[in-house]
């Protein structure tokens, strides 16, 4: 193991996590390019890279840059945001089963968005500005409210992992029920739109979806990286953490807030894409061979997961495109079950 020092910043440099990030980034670019290349009007991979580097014909430029690239980019960024959020949640709860799905953030965001789609939809104003601005904003608000609610309700002279998870299960149940109620209010067209949204979809995503997630990631990933040391400390038991001189509850609150914002922003862009936040930190942890989920590794794995799942969802079912969330849920839920069985064998939760 070597170290690095750039001005006042120094830290350990481990090769394996580093390699995971680099190789992962390469795979993300490749998968993204394939995702851009495939479609009703296929474009050879070579020409895709050509266009991305500034060449290509006008028609190809339009298809690639205006239609398909935003979708692929949204997928990558949403996956990355969810991966980081999951890594932070899991480090804090000291539990591989924690994540924005279990902690109510994504369902809260879903309830917010569905409210707007249903009520604005019946007034005939979803579409245009309401859809572009109102739905993501409502999702962001809903996610934040649900996240803070879970955190506040689980607070009892500090936070404990199991209580956080159980309160999250409760809040998830309410928001889920509320969403199901809203499904019955509108007509069936609205209901179909809602159903697609709460499943998590990258369909028809444009640059306006890329920018918010991109900005959030640009700000919050460095912030999270600064907090890595805190996360490292938080894996020990509470007394040890205090002994290390970390202000326990302050550190937890800041990191949790950060993760909630990331998850809510991601959900606002693509809907609640299930299980990415749960699975990617654990995959990254195994690939990188570290003790806690690595943040950058989780981000890369998350991005890769979403883009590949989206490819599967688009191509595997003939002419019909399923929302990406269906694929991640059907792949991810068995993984959560596997985690449960395994953690039970190790006699710890």
């Amino acid at each position: 193991m070597k170290g690095f020092r750039v001005g006042p910043v120094s830290g350990p440099l481990r090769w394996r996590p580093f390699t995971v990030v680099v190789v992962g980034l390469g795979l993300v670019v490749l998968a993204g390019a394939v995702s851009v290349a495939r479609g009703d009007f296929p474009i050879p991979l070579g020409q895709v890279f050509d266009v991305l580097l500034g060449g290509g014909q006008r028609g190809q430029r339009f298809i690639v840059l205006d239609l398909r690239l935003p979708r692929a980019l949204t997928g990558v960024l949403v996956g990355a945001a969810l991966g980081v959020a999951g890594a932070v949640f899991q480090s804090i709860a000291r539990n591989p089963l924690a994540g924005p799905d279990v902690l109510g953030v994504t369902w809260g965001a879903g309830a917010g968005a569905v409210t707007v789609i249903t009520f604005a939809g019946s007034l005939g104003v979803v579409g245009g500005t309401t859809a572009a601005v109102g739905v993501p904003l409502a999702a962001l608000g809903g996610g934040l409210v649900a996240g803070l609610l879970v955190y506040g309700l689980a607070w009892r002279r500090g936070i404990e992992g199991f209580r956080l998870v159980l309160v999250g299960v409760g809040i998830t149940a309410v928001t889920g029920n509320f969403t199901h109620y809203l499904l019955t209010v509108g007509d069936v067209t609205d209901a179909a739109r809602v159903m697609v949204w709460i499943t998590g979809s990258l369909n028809g995503r444009g640059w306006e979806h890329v920018v918010p997630v991109g900005l959030a990631l640009a700000v919050l990933i460095p912030a999270a990286l600064v907090g890595t040391r805190l996360l490292g400390a938080l894996q020990f038991d509470d007394d040890t953490v205090r002994g290390l001189g970390v202000r326990l509850n302050g550190a937890r609150t800041v990191m949790l807030l950060l993760a909630v914002v990331l998850a809510a922003v991601a959900t606002a862009s693509a809907g609640p894409v299930a299980f990415v936040a749960l699975a990617s930190p654990q995959i990254a942890l195994r690939l990188a061979g570290t003790a806690t989920p690595p943040l950058l590794g989780s981000a890369v794995v998350g991005g890769l997961l979403v883009v590949v799942s989206d490819l599967v969802a688009r191509l595997a079912f003939g002419g019909f495109e399923l929302p990406v969330g269906v694929v991640t849920a059907v792949l991810g839920a068995p993984y959560l079950m596997y985690l449960l069985v395994r953690s039970r064998r190790e006699a710890r939760v």
Partner: protein
């Protein structure tokens, strides 16, 4: 003993009052005299029809489903020795939901009579899977069971969304079932499910004393002469019949099975021979009250009973979780 009997009698009386309220209160204002008239000597007036065709079936159905879910919840909490057990939280309702959607989608089952069987199968499958996933060497803990339920629910929900999105007709039928309501079901449906509910209740009654022994732990129960495996199987079958039947008719009604057994335990203590009947009566009362509240708050519209119960039940669940030590059963 005498105290418990009095309390049970009082509760049954209360249930009678609530049932009367459920018949009398609704979107249409009907004076009490007319309600009485409709019940005793109907002459085919509009009010008579509203009471006899809409409100009475709804109330009867509410009582049956409330009893089933209350007793089912108590059985679940007793068998898992888990204060947070609830058909919704343990994924049983989502399992039933998936089976129902699958039947609508692949076999074109469109009547509620057809759903019932699939709902049973789905509920049974999900409850067995969740219980197996959530219990380890030291038996199931509240957290692992809740998480196993969340995992199974998520999987089922993903599959359901896929099916529903592929077929708009399934979506239209499914969304109204999914929210959980006792309105708009006719009595024929209840007659179809009633045998299963009754069988479930009988099995639950047989199961009660065995559950008391199981509460002491499997080893002690065995030394007391209980056949633990048999007791468990009877319990699972009874739970599935009660919960699956209720879910098939009314859709997933959440939190009733969670809240009611706790209320019953507060009134009668942990003896399952008393706990189960108390839970049944309280379940019916709570369901009917929630239904009446749902009719009143958004007049002339209605809030489905599933929504009302979630709004009431979730805070209760969170309060339970916040107790310093989870209640141990």
């Amino acid at each position: 003993m005498a105290l418990r009997s009095t309390r049970l009698a009082l509760l049954v009386g209360l249930l009678g009052l609530v049932a009367l309220a459920s018949v009398a209160i609704g979107a249409k204002d009907i004076p009490l005299a007319d309600v009485w008239h409709a019940l005793t000597a109907p002459t085919g007036l509009e009010n008579d029809l509203v009471v006899r065709e809409l409100r009475v079936p709804r109330t009867v159905l509410g009582i049956a489903v409330g009893v089933a879910l209350g007793v089912g919840g108590a059985l679940m909490q007793g068998h898992t020795r888990n204060p947070l057990a609830d058909p919704g939280i343990l994924g049983v309702t989502q399992g039933a939901a998936f089976a129902v959607v699958l039947s609508i989608f692949t076999l074109g089952v469109s009547s509620l009579y057809g759903y019932v069987w699939f709902a049973f199968a789905g509920a049974l499958m999900a409850s067995v899977v969740v219980f197996l996933l959530g219990s380890g060497r030291n038996g199931p803990t509240p957290v692992t069971l809740a998480l196993a339920g969340a995992a199974v629910s998520a999987l089922m929900h993903g599959l359901v969304s896929a099916l529903v999105l592929l077929d708009r007709q399934s979506l239209d039928a499914f969304r109204f079932w999914q929210v959980g309501a006792i309105a708009g079901r006719d009595l024929d449906l209840l007659w179809q499910v009633l045998p299963f509910l009754v069988l479930g209740l009988v099995l639950a009654g047989v199961n009660a004393s065995g559950l008391n022994a199981l509460a002491l732990g499997d080893d002690v129960a065995r030394s007391l002469g209980q056949r633990v495996a048999v007791t468990r199987v009877v319990g699972v079958v009874a739970t599935t019949l009660l919960v699956g039947g209720a879910v098939a008719v009314c859709g997933p009604i959440g939190f009733l099975g969670l809240v009611v057994p706790h209320a019953a335990r507060a009134l009668t203590g942990p003896d399952h021979r008393w706990l189960l009947p108390f839970a049944g009566v309280i379940g019916a009362i709570v369901l009917l009250v929630a239904d009446v509240v749902g009719r009143v708050v958004t007049r002339p519209g209605e809030l489905e009973v599933g929504v009302v119960l979630a709004l009431v039940g979730a805070p209760f669940f969170i309060a339970l979780v916040r107790r310093r030590k989870l209640v141990r059963l």
